[in-house]
């Protein structure tokens, strides 16, 4: 094992300031910006706090005697129903004494007041009052019919029975958790730039020629790039990961498996990067091609728009390794386990071994040339 070569190539990678900036600071900036920009996108359920509804009825209104029962019913739903016989309705809304106000002006007409920001509370109130009015009117109709036809109405009380069943749906991550995880993964794939520190230094001088007359084998030359690049990416990603957790309070799920997956990504990126830089002699072209491929995989894998809402053919999503990684790590964060972990690890191992083999063959071909 060429330990000295590995050690010195690792030093070259970790001494490059712009690579460190890109791998450690850029993810933090991106996570901060995107998690704030798309905060509302991932908020699919709303927490409604207890709110107050004011009401007013005319004296002798059909509904007046029933209001105390409605108050009890509403209280169970977290809605405080309170009568305001007098006072300016507009003022009650403006000074936020009530969220919604219902003015029952006659037996078949009521008016609902609300502000722009209380649309949901108003919709709930409207629904409750509509049901209430319907039930009261139906009871009155039945009573009138019974009296007219001299029928004794049943004394049996009809009670509606509602059974609520809570289904075990997957929780949605917060935008900070989602983008906090996704961009650590995305920038780990961009880590192929770490190789530039070694490749460009080798190519701008006659280092490769000097190496070719040493006793180093092709495999050692490959390992001399693969191992330090993997270590550099892993260390940089871990630094960014820790900082992002401290700064944004990002919740990762199973830390052990997450670290294992990040280590596999570092290996896959290194192996893939070595192929690119062997194929393209110009380092800049290698970087651009690498970033384009990463961007496309990220686009299909939910790095920009959440994979939960992607409107892309399923086969394209399935073709992206980033999709399985994102999904696995996000599910670890939200539900603590993921059915995609196996595919994710398998996909990464396949990339590592296939790219590794191609990389060694390309290095061998280059040396023979």
């Amino acid at each position: 094992m060429p330990w000295i070569l590995i050690k010195n190539n690792l030093k070259l990678m970790l001494r490059s300031k712009w690579i460190l900036f890109m791998m450690i600071i850029m993810p933090l900036i991106t996570i901060g910006l995107l998690s704030n920009a798309f905060k509302s996108m991932l908020t699919t359920s709303f927490e409604i706090n207890e709110f107050k509804v004011g009401y007013r009825t005319n004296t002798g209104s059909l509904y007046e005697p029933m209001m105390s029962k409605l108050q009890d019913s509403c209280k169970e739903q977290g809605i405080l129903l309170q009568e305001y016989p007098e006072g300016d309705i507009k003022e009650l809304l403006l000074n936020r004494t009530v969220a919604v106000f219902v003015d029952i002006q006659s037996d078949n007409f009521y008016k609902l007041y609300r502000s722009d920001e209380k649309k949901i509370e108003a919709a709930m109130t409207d629904s409750i009052f509509s049901g209430f009015f319907y039930q009261v009117n139906e009871a009155v109709t039945v009573k009138t019919y019974s009296v007219q036809n001299k029928i004794n109405p049943s004394t049996e009380q009809w009670e509606s029975k509602l059974i609520q069943e809570k289904l075990p749906t997957d929780p949605v991550p917060s935008s900070t958790d989602y983008y906090g995880i996704i961009y650590i993964v995305y920038f780990a794939w961009c880590g192929l730039v770490s190789l530039v520190a070694v490749i460009s230094s080798e190519r701008k001088s006659a280092i490769l020629r000097r190496m070719r007359i040493t006793q180093m084998s092709n495999l050692n030359q490959y390992l001399g790039k693969f191992i330090p690049c993997t270590l550099a990416i892993f260390l940089e990603v871990c630094a960014s990961w820790i900082l992002s957790v401290l700064l944004y309070d990002i919740h990762w799920g199973n830390i052990g498996i997450s670290i294992f997956i990040i280590a596999l990504i570092s290996m896959a990126t290194s192996a893939f990067g070595i192929i690119l830089f062997q194929l393209f002699h110009n380092v800049a072209i290698g970087i651009v091609i690498g970033f384009i491929i990463t961007w496309i995989c990220g686009y299909f894998g939910g790095s920009f728009q959440s994979y939960m809402y992607l409107d892309i053919p399923k086969f394209l999503i399935n073709a992206s390794p980033i999709y399985y990684i994102n999904r696995t790590l996000v599910e670890f964060s939200t539900v603590g386990h993921s059915d995609y972990a196996g595919i994710c690890i398998g996909y990464l191992l396949a990339i590592i071994f296939s790219s590794g083999l191609i990389g060694i063959l390309l290095i061998r071909r280059k040396m023979e040339e």
Binding site: P2, W3, I4, L5, N8, K11, L12, R15, S16, A197, S201, S205, A206, I207, R209, R210, M211, R212, I213, T214, Q215, M216
Partner: protein, 264 residues
């Protein structure tokens, strides 16, 4: 192995009909040459004469179109691995990492010859002392002056104590003090047993250190011998005070040798 331990007099390098063609155009044309142990052999020639291509073929960096290179009695085509540890190559371009410290550069390239542990540490210190950079071992190569970089370039090639050192224009673009220092050191390693092949444009350097000189032009060796023998080839007067430069210009002519990149 130490340089002092190397026995002299046997043939260290033999070129037989060595030819290299690019696009069917010969760049090196049927060269036959023998270099003995202990020599400082100078290779002179105008731009595009084929010196660097010849050296690249000796180091197995370029495959010959025809002919044979024998290093230490091994055919480099089949047995290059066996002689790599005996060969030290100082390329014309710098072959050092700017973002590594001087000692890290020497350690890296010396380790690639399988030297490790304490032996490696000693080799690094020795090499840096040899080129006068031991006191600046912790400096980054990119911050070094041109002369220091050239000396570091040499240190990276000598850590494994090669028996044959190939210097491909090692003094290009450096100050006279560094040039003089390098030439003195080349003489020193030669006195201690290493064979040296030295290519340069600077006639006075070749004249000062080389025991035998070959002049190449258009891919062929047109003259070979000691300086005195070369003088004799161009003038009947044995006691002539002709300089090597005058001999060179007489043999190769005064016509400008312009060539475009890729032609060589």
């Amino acid at each position: 192995m130490k340089w002092e331990d190397i026995e002299l007099s046997e043939t260290i390098l033999r070129l037989e009909g060595l030819t290299k063609k690019y696009d069917n155009k010969p760049v090196v044309d049927h060269i036959n040459l023998e270099i003995k142990k202990g020599e400082i052999f100078g290779l002179l020639g105008p731009n595009g004469a084929g010196k660097s291509t010849t050296m690249n073929m000796v180091c197995a960096l370029v495959k010959p179109t025809a002919g044979k290179v024998e290093l230490f009695d091994y055919d480099t085509k089949t047995d290059m691995k066996k002689v790599k540890s005996k060969l030290g190559y100082i390329p014309q371009e710098l072959a050092i990492h700017g973002n590594l410290k001087a000692w890290e550069n020497v350690e890296l390239f010396t380790s690639l010859y399988g030297i490790k542990g304490e032996q490696l540490k000693e080799a690094v210190t020795e090499s840096l002392e040899f080129v006068g950079l031991e006191d600046k071992r912790n400096g980054f190569a990119k911050k070094y002056s041109g002369g220091m970089k050239r000396r570091l370039n040499i240190a990276c090639a000598i850590g494994h104590k090669p028996e044959l050192l190939i210097f491909d224009e090692p003094t290009v673009g450096i100050d006279p003090q560094s040039r003089n220092f390098i030439l003195e050191k080349i003489k020193y390693v030669n006195q201690h047993g290493a064979t040296v092949i030295y290519t340069s444009h600077y006639m006075e350097e070749i004249e000062a250190i080389c025991t035998r000189i070959a002049i190449m032009d258009n891919g062929k060796i047109i003259a070979i011998g000691t300086k005195e023998e070369l003088v004799e080839m161009v003038t009947s007067n044995k006691d002539s005070n002709m300089t090597l430069e005058e001999v060179f210009l007489t043999l190769t002519g005064k016509k400008l040798r312009d060539y475009a990149e890729g032609e060589i």
